[in-house]
């Protein structure tokens, strides 16, 4: 016993020195249930959002078939509306770059969207010359052929190019569709998109790839944990929004010279609408919200950890800043983004700066309080 004294003494000193106990000793039943949070985020936010992209993909494919059956201004309008719905749905889930949309799934993502690499080059959207060459060529434009084409010849940008034109009028689109092979291309592309969107949605389902199971089980804070992955992607989404979707067209990356043609979805003039959906999707995931039901999310985790910013709960600050970014996007809407960067650059600059504030809150404050390693490398620490 006597020989154990130093150890006992050491612990005793340590415990007696235990300084100012926090004001409210924590209720042991109140400890944060991270699995429940991940389950809510997975089952009530991510999976329904992916299901919606899958069904909007079906609707787009059906609209393309109807348009091919009876090409008219009416069916074209419906087709365009269906594309906008699908593109907005995708913008909400774009940040789920983990699990089925990570690594092996990146080719699928590239086929739906365009850029997958960092930095994303939104300006290289559709390979217009390549699409036109394929249309005037002679090989069969079927699903086997399209499924091996590069991302800029299929997916949302290619379909956008086929059915929208910012400069020309819809009459031009309709007259272009006098070539039967243009319909074949369009239908191959919408069928391919439909397949890819369903593929990702199914990969999460218990009946499919059951990624939801891995997602809920990886409830730690380490690299590869779901909290770590989601935190990384939330920050990455804002970074892409600020740097690539807003900053690059504004000239922030090109010595201050605006690059209007580098906006996303220029032909359909949906650039601003899509970046708004990006932030809405991000906010939903952060809050664990589906519709009006605010379930367990990162906001609750941060509140549980007592994270504050300038005397306010950090989670509330982040939610508020999401709203500010959406508001400043709306403030631009008298011009499409590609025109705004040259006609009203100060308004775009304001959006850029508000997005930067959101980025700092997400990437720095939220990450620091949750203690996840925002890193992409498993090196030793200290």
């Amino acid at each position: 016993m006597k020989r154990l004294l130093p150890i006992l003494l050491l612990s005793a000193v340590a415990f007696s020195c235990d300084p100012e106990k926090p004001e409210d000793p924590k209720d042991p039943f109140d400890t944060f249930d991270r699995r429940a949070m991940l389950q809510n985020m997975g089952e009530n936010v991510i999976m329904p959002a992916l299901d919606f992209t899958a069904s909007s993909g079906i609707a787009l494919d059906v609209a393309a078939q109807n348009f091919a059956l009876s090409p008219s201004q009416i069916t074209l309008d419906k087709l365009q509306t269906a594309w906008v719905t699908a593109a907005k749905a995708w913008a909400q889930v774009e940040m789920y770059r983990f699990g089925p949309m990570d690594e092996a799934g990146l080719n699928t993502v590239a086929a739906i969207h365009y850029g997958t690499a960092y930095p994303m080059n939104y300006g290289s959207a559709a390979d217009k010359a390549g699409i036109n060459a394929a249309v005037s060529g002679s090989n069969a434009l079927d699903s086997a052929w399209i499924s091996i084409q590069a991302g800029n010849k299929r997916g949302l940008p290619a379909i956008e190019y086929l059915i929208f034109s910012k400069e020309e009028r819809d009459e031009k689109i309709l007259s272009d569709f006098s070539a039967p092979r243009r319909f074949s291309y369009l239908q191959a592309a919408t069928a391919d998109l439909r397949r890819n969107l369903s593929g990702i949605a199914n990969a999460w389902k218990p009946s499919g790839g059951n990624f939801i199971n891995s997602f809920v089980n990886a409830d730690g804070r380490d690299l590869g944990s779901s909290i770590g992955m989601v935190m990384n992607e939330l920050a990455f989404m804002v970074e892409m929004h600020k740097n690539e979707k807003v900053g690059r067209p504004l000239g922030k990356r090109t010595a201050g010279n605006p690059q209007p043609n580098l906006v996303e979805a220029r032909e359909s003039m949906q650039s601003l609408a899509l970046i708004k959906e990006n932030i809405r999707g991000l906010k939903n995931l952060f809050e664990g919200r589906s519709g009006t039901v605010d379930g367990s999310g990162f906001d609750d985790l941060l509140n549980h950890l007592g994270a504050e910013f300038a005397g306010q709960p950090l989670a509330a600050m982040i939610e508020q800043q999401c709203d500010v970014v959406i508001e400043k996007t709306d403030a631009i809407s008298s011009f499409p983004l590609d025109e705004a960067v040259t006609k009203i650059p100060p308004s775009v600059e304001i959006l850029y700066n508000e997005a930067k504030k959101l980025l700092v809150l997400m990437k720095v404050d939220a990450a620091n309080n949750i203690g996840v390693q925002i890193t992409y490398f498993d090196n030793d620490g200290d």
């Binding site: 020989r3 154990l4 130093p6 150890i7 050491l10 612990s11 000193v13 340590a14 415990f15 020195c17 235990d18 300084p19 106990k21 926090p22 924590k26 400890t31 944060f32 991270r34 960092y118 930095p119 409830d219 730690g220 804070r221 909290i227 740097n243 900053g247 000239g251 922030k252 990356r253 090109t254 010595a255 201050g256 010279n257 950890l305 994270a307 504050e308 910013f309 300038a310 950090l314 980025l359 700092v360 809150l361 990437k363 720095v364 404050d365 620091n368 309080n369 949750i370 203690g371 996840v372 390693q373 925002i374 890193t375 992409y376 490398f377 498993d378 090196n379 030793d380 620490g381 200290d382």
Partner: protein, 462 residues
């Protein structure tokens, strides 16, 4: 006073069995060998020394350049081989110098990769160059009977123990900070997410758990070297050492460090203990048919004064250097963990959870146009992460950007737009947004372009 001085002197020059040095040499060599292999097998040579196109060199060591891919791998193979040679005691003088230089070179290429335990390994590799670690249980001693020693002066062993003790003791002093002791940060952040830890996991989310661990860790670091020196308490102290390091190994991503410390501290045990283990290895050797060498004749010899002059001078200088380095932060007005002026080489282990964001505002001085440079366009994600919280790296990168434009004939100002959150504090600007970093220089002077930490609550004004 005189008797104390005398007894210290007697303790220093007292002869102690030489095989304790050999014991440490073998363990240390094998650990560096294993650690280097692990590093290569994990693909880190590629991701840390081949992939990057820009490297953050150390002030004063700008001459250390990254090597081409083949030479980088060559350097790591050289390092591994020299560590193995040290373990075997084969051409020890040469191999220990090669070990120190090759390890040092890899560390000096990019400060992105600075870790306290790499610094510890560098120091220890330096210390053992000057000690006759190969005087027994070595291929050299087999080859050259003249090298063989039965005993060595005790200070040689003490030099190694001191090097270990410094890590703990100064690590303990570094923990006497407001954040660590009073806020239990960053432990609170880390522990709250480790509730799936075996057996004690459910306790880790309790507020008192972080406080207890913070205070125990501080007291442990401050006292454990002394307990390890005591014959009476050593077994208990070592048990605590093992438990403590196993806990940290499980909780944090600190790789080899806990295992290195657990192994190295075995040197505190008695020469008899070291002898038993070495003889155990020998018996193992006999099983495999390796002839026993324990019977050879060894003449009882002492080192001449002249032979000891350089070792004593070098080890004294190393000790003095290490006693000063951890306190240099006192010369800077900024908070240590915030501005990191004087942060490295000071045993600030696991004291900060820092998250940052940085990009660079560029202004063309002629046209007045402004734009942004994003470091991710030039650096690996890991480098970006390190850059985003460390002012000296930010300064260096700003100069790199400035020089790039200068080459194109553009005269630009480079401002860092950098937000950092330290130990759960709200993010705040780290660098003065108006400061043109292209005009600032690296050096020992206080950096006025680093903004002070708001809400600074560090003990004793630090």
């Amino acid at each position: 006073m005189l008797t104390l001085r005398k007894s210290i002197y007697t303790e220093l020059i007292r002869e102690t069995p030489a095989h304790s040095l050999a014991f440490f040499r073998i363990l240390f060599g094998l650990m560096i060998f294993g650690g280097t292999l692990r590093f290569m097998l994990k693909g880190w040579v590629d991701s840390l020394y081949v992939k990057p196109t820009f490297y953050f060199n150390y002030w004063g060591f700008e001459f250390v350049k990254p090597l081409p891919e083949w030479a980088t791998y060559g350097l790591f193979i050289l390092l591994a081989l020299s560590a193995l040679m040290v373990a075997l005691g084969c051409y020890y003088r040469l191999s220990s110098i090669v070990l120190f230089l090759s390890f040092g070179y890899t560390e000096l290429i990019d400060k992105t990769n600075y870790l306290n335990h790499y610094y510890f390994v560098s120091l220890m590799a330096f210390v053992i160059i000057f000690l006759p670690m190969h005087s027994s249980w070595s291929i050299d001693a087999m080859r050259k009977p003249g090298l063989r020693r039965l005993t060595v002066p005790n200070w040689m062993l003490l030099a190694i123990k001191m090097q270990l003790g410094i890590v703990y003791f100064f690590g303990g002093i570094a923990k006497i900070k407001y954040d660590w002791l009073i806020m239990a940060q960053p432990l609170k952040i880390w522990l709250s997410a480790s509730t799936d830890f075996p057996v004690i996991g459910f306790l880790l989310d309790e507020p008192w758990a972080a406080y207890s661990i913070a205070w125990i860790a501080m007291l442990f670091d401050l006292t454990v070297p002394f307990f390890l020196f005591s014959n009476k308490y050593r077994p208990y102290a070592y048990t605590v050492v093992v438990l403590f390091h196993l806990l940290t190994a499980k909780l944090f991503y600190i790789g080899m460090f806990p295992y290195i410390m657990m192994t190295c501290t075995l040197v505190f045990f008695s020469p008899a203990f070291h002898g038993r283990i070495l003889n155990g290895i020998l018996r193992l050797g006999n099983i495999f048919g390796i002839r026993s060498r324990s019977g050879y004749y060894v003449e009882q010899k002492r080192f001449s004064k002249a032979a000891l002059r350089i070792p004593v001078m070098m080890l004294g200088a190393s000790l003095l250097f290490q006693l000063i380095m951890p306190f240099r932060y006192a010369f800077y007005p900024n908070s240590l963990c915030w501005s990191e002026e004087g942060f490295r080489y000071s045993w600030n282990i696991m004291l900060v959870e820092k998250t940052g964001f940085v990009e660079f505002n560029i202004k063309d001085k002629k046209t007045g146009k402004t734009w942004v440079e994003v470091p991710g366009d030039y650096l690996t994600p890991y480098q970006v992460k390190m850059l985003s919280t460390q002012p000296d790296m930010i300064l260096q990168f700003a100069h790199f950007l400035h020089d790039n434009y200068a080459k194109k004939g553009q005269d630009v100002a480079v401002m860092a737009d950098c937000y950092v959150s330290l130990n759960g504090r709200p993010s705040q600007l780290l660098i003065n947004l108006g400061a043109d970093l292209a005009k600032e220089t690296e050096g020992l002077h206080a950096k006025t372009w680093i903004l002070p930490l708001k809400e600074d609550r560090t003990l004793a004004g630090k």
